[in-house]
Symmetry: C2
Subunit: 76 residues, 2 copies
Amino acid sequence: MDNTKDIFLKLFGKQIKQLRVEKKLSLRELSIRCNIDYSDISKIEKGKRNIQLSTLLELAKGLEVHPKELLNIKYK
Amino acid sequence: MDNTKDIFLKLFGKQIKQLRVEKKLSLRELSIRCNIDYSDISKIEKGKRNIQLSTLLELAKGLEVHPKELLNIKYK
DNA sequence: AAATTTGTGGGTAAAAAAACCCACATTTGA
DNA sequence: TCAAATGTGGGTTTTTTTACCCACAAATTT
């Protein structure tokens, strides 16, 4: 039904992973920078989590980018 | 303590309001486009809500902008 | 070959958003 | 002047994230 949400979450996850790999960080390394459990970051990257703005902010901090970078995805 | 979150949510809310007013929409009009209750949008604009990505997506749809536009804020 | 690192997935309790509703004061405009 | 529209805030229930933990297979390193 509402697959635009799922598509969006998948693209978002891809972007997180791309930025993380770009910076040569493992899930556990990023986890420490973000105060987010590594297994949860894994789920975010897989598009399995519909995170809140505060979590997006933590990820941006850990990845050292402006929050809007995380939404720099080809959506529509 | 963690006021960066609150600052961020306030700036985010301001951006939503700015885009909404720019498009000359009332809360109730935007509400219909977003399927989000108008009173909840009011709270979001006031920085009182830590919304999820799916809600951000709905707002972007209703405002007819790319999701990352909503994070186009002066944050750090 | 053995040890370590890495990504993934399943599970839990607590906290919070989502999705509603309604009331009220103020502004707008017919 | 009076009705309609607008923004704000309080409240409730359901659903979901958050914030943890642990186990395991596969890849990597030593």
